[in-house]
């Protein structure tokens, strides 16, 4: 079986996996990193949203072979020790999460948006595709606006 070396949340890791294994299952089933969630497996719900070399990806549709030698960041890699990332802090301040299952993906999508667009408009925020079945969208929007003050 092929072997792939990559960096996950700052740590070098090597996994034995078939080339077409989605990054999501390499993270969850081989590395035990469970922050990225399975919600659909086709990149539609975006619950697994993480970053590859700083850009937003859906690990359920990115094969592990495409991640070799690259930097993967999941929700677990966002905080600096106990010091939350400003977007996580804004999420906490706005008490965004309900069931919380989509929230790692929502937060990673928001971080990617704020990296691209430090002061997003409502129209920019509307472009976020991540599904939240609890319907936390209004607080997601508030938290992004709050966090944008930090950028």
């Amino acid at each position: 079986m092929p072997q792939y070396s990559l960096t996950v949340n700052g740590e070098p890791v090597t996994v034995d996996a078939p080339a077409d294994m989605p990054l999501l299952w390499a993270l969850r089933d081989l590395l035990g990193i469970t922050g990225p969630k399975y919600g659909c497996g086709i990149g539609a719900c975006r619950a697994c949203t993480s970053h590859l070399d700083g850009a937003e990806i859906q690990p359920c549709v990115v094969p592990i072979a495409d991640c070799a030698g690259r930097q993967v960041t999941t929700i677990e890699g966002l905080a600096d020790g106990d010091h939350l990332h400003p977007v996580q802090q804004a999420w906490l301040d706005c008490d965004v999460a309900q069931c919380g299952f989509c929230q790692p993906g929502q937060i990673m999508a928001a971080v990617a948006l704020l990296n691209r667009t430090p002061h997003p408009t409502d129209a920019d925020i509307d472009k976020i595709e991540n599904v939240c079945r609890c319907g936390t969208y209004h607080r997601v929007r508030q938290a992004i606006k709050k966090a944008s003050g930090h950028h």
């Binding site: 659909c40 719900c45 999420w91 906490l92 069931c99 299952f101 079945r133």
Partner: protein, 665 residues
């Protein structure tokens, strides 16, 4: 209001542990509230039973933590936070010192039901009495240690404080307190006027775990040896396996087993499991409804309506017939269950609103005595009623038994949407007979698809109670007709509704409408209002919609006014209503399932259009009415009025009479 007397007694000797039996009066009330209207039979196959007692256990640990094992499921509704607040209030504990783990399924019977918007109302008294009893014992223990009268002591921040400034943490007193049977101070909950925690907007106790990825759901658990499992299911509803060439030789595959719902693959990873599942060559029977589609279901539902009764003489009818599609629960976390079945016992981990019934059903399925199945209740990634049923747990147990190894079963999203469960398709007919400027008679009949219940339209389609159950559709039909009646009478919809409402319902309507109803709107925008009363609570919703493109409507504003009696956590209540608003927007405008020749057409969030950020209101407000009443229910309360307000707003914005939902399907 009648209150069952709660008996509190000490259990263990080493630490203070108290147990409060809870009555299920509230449960009966919640069931009554959900009772089907005539002609609208109950369609869920959920059996909600239980002995008359259940137990809420409070423990004060030596490490100064207060732990209450909660006989409810946390599915995102915030019940753990609400109960932690009740406990912290009566104990004068810091909220951060209160832990609320979910209790395992009780094996000695008893009610452990999460549903019917009943959790807060059913726990409010017992939880506070339990904590007050613990406080009295802790205070008494400190008094005896310090040789001072107990009534001179105060409690604050998980600590007992003496007038001279001496302090002792609850943890340091717990051993002594456990031996106290007759406390020297009354074990009575505080009067509401002294509440400091109850009623204060509070962030979820698990918020930090949720934003850091630390929160664990069933699929995130590490259970020794439990391997990923998925099931190949029939393309058509109710289809069964005729033959299968199994894929045991595929890489990473550990087992392939037949279960009633299909063929299960157990593998090293979910990637291997899905690949092997897709490689299975299965011949399926076409199932019992292979030729049935939406149009046929609609025709049969309509035909099942009872005949309309005669209208009052001289009245003018205003009527409508309304069709509501099947709707998936589609919680973000698909059904997942970990099962470890041995020859003489079984242990399962999954989220369940009905873990006692689940354990019994699992035991029956794998032919073990009921007492030999242990069920650990795990937090859920949403539910909306879906986890009243325990389909995945039974499957996981069957797979584990057949494969002779622990398994972690996960439904795919396509499994979830194509195989239910779902809110049943419903057909409603409402007729208002107007005479002398008022509604002289209102007839509302409904039929819905039923699953094997022998009434309604009985079809083998997997159904389940969906947040707010019947009210989510009945309120919509009635409010649309009310608007149409108001129009024929040249009356303002708010003023017209006011003449028909009880005082608390009128109060929430006035609050929601104040300063906004009737304001000048841009062309192709519309306002709608609706009022709903259920679970001992009242809610009014005002919606404003921009239907410039009627195929791409955007709800711009939602204003809700709510009276739920005593509010535990206003921030949590607002969150529940925010979600309910999105359910209303989704089910009215975009989100529904289609049945095509015996199969569900949709299979993911790409075609089941639950609302996304671009469909959420930019302006969302909740007004909470002050109240001294005991808590009512809130979890489902917002859905009916939100759905109806969106529907009436769309009707006004477009000048149409919406009759089929979702409107943009």
């Amino acid at each position: 209001m009648e209150r069952r007397k709660v008996i509190v007694y000490a259990l263990s000797a080493s630490t203070l542990t108290l147990v409060a039996p809870l009555g299920i009066r509230r449960l009966a009330q919640a069931e009554a509230a959900q009772a089907p209207a005539p002609g609208d039979p109950h369609r869920s196959d959920v059996v909600v039973v239980g002995a008359d007692e259940e137990k809420l256990v409070l423990e004060v640990t030596a490490a100064n933590k207060v732990r209450v094992r909660l006989p409810r499921a946390e599915v995102g509704q915030g019940i753990t936070t609400a109960v932690a607040m009740m406990i912290a209030e009566e104990l004068d504990a810091r909220l951060a010192d209160v832990d609320i783990p979910l209790a395992d399924a009780r094996t000695d019977g008893g009610n452990q039901f999460t549903g019917g918007s009943s959790s807060v109302s059913s726990l409010y008294d017992p939880a506070r009495r339990l904590a007050a009893a613990a406080r009295a014992r802790l205070v008494t223990a400190a008094a005896r240690q310090w040789h001072v009268p107990a009534k001179t002591l105060r409690t604050k921040d998980t600590t007992v404080v003496a007038p001279d400034g001496r302090t002792a943490t609850f943890g340091s007193l717990t051993a002594a307190a456990s031996g106290i049977t007759h406390p020297d101070v009354p074990a009575k909950p505080k009067p509401a006027a002294q509440h400091r925690t109850i009623g204060r907007p509070t962030t979820r106790i698990d918020a930090r775990d949720l934003v850091t990825g630390k929160a664990r759901y069933a699929g995130d658990l590490t259970v020794a040896g439990a391997k990923p499992a998925v099931v190949a299911r029939s393309p058509k509803l109710g289809g069964t396996v005729v033959s299968v060439d199994d894929a045991r030789a595929m890489p990473g595959v550990l087992a392939v087993v037949r279960i009633p719902s299909g063929v299960a693959v157990v593998a090293e990873t979910f990637h291997h499991a899905f690949q092997a599942r897709d490689a299975l060559k299965i011949k399926w029977s076409s199932g019992p409804i292979a030729t049935l589609s939406d149009a046929g279901i609609r025709t049969r539902l309509r035909a099942a309506l009872p005949p309309l009764s005669a209208a009052p003489r001289g009245s003018t009818p205003v009527k409508g017939e309304f069709e509501f599609a099947f709707v998936s629960h589609a919680p973000m976390e698909v059904l997942t269950a970990v099962a470890d079945v041995r020859t003489d016992r079984a242990e399962l981990w999954f989220s369940s609103q009905t873990p006692v019934e689940a354990a019994e059903s699992v035991a029956a399925a794998i032919r073990l005595p009921a007492g030999k199945v242990r069920v650990h209740v795990v937090r859920a990634g949403g539910s909306f009623g879906r986890r009243l049923n325990y389909d995945a747990a039974i499957e996981a147990a069957l797979i584990s038994k057949a494969a002779r190894r622990p398994v972690k079963l996960m439904w795919s999203r396509a499994d979830d949407i194509r195989h239910g469960r779902m809110r049943p398709a419903t057909y409603r007919r409402v007729r208002a007979n107007v005479k002398d400027g008022r509604i002289a008679r209102l007839d509302h009949d409904a039929t819905s698809v039923n699953e094997g219940a022998g009434h309604g339209l009985d079809l083998p389609i997997p159904l389940g109670a969906w947040r707010s159950v019947d009210s989510g559709t009945s309120r919509v039909a009635e409010e649309l007709i009310l608007d149409e009646v108001a129009r024929t009478l040249h009356k303002d919809p708010v003023a017209f509704r006011r003449t028909r409402l009880t005082a608390p319902a009128k109060a929430v309507l006035d609050k929601a409408a104040a300063g906004r109803w009737g304001r000048l709107l841009p062309a192709h925008w519309g306002q709608g209002v609706a009022v709903h009363e259920e679970y001992g609570s009242y809610l009014a919703c005002l919606a404003e919609i921009d239907a410039t493109d009627p195929r791409k409507p955007r709800v711009k504003t939602i204003v809700m006014a709510v009276d739920v009696g005593t509010v535990i956590n206003p921030r949590g209540l607002e969150a529940q209503l925010m979600g309910a608003a999105m359910d209303g927007i989704s089910t009215i405008l975009h989100a529904g399932l289609h049945i095509d020749r015996g199969a569900v057409r949709e299979s993911s969030f790409a075609d089941f259009h639950y609302a996304r950020q671009r469909q959420s209101p930019l302006d969302f407000k909740v007004h909470i009415m002050p109240s001294k009443r005991a808590p009512g229910g809130a979890g489902e309360l917002g859905v009916p009025a939100a759905a109806a307000a969106v529907a009436t707003a769309y009707a006004r914005a477009t000048g149409t009479h919406p009759r089929r939902f979702p409107i943009v399907s």
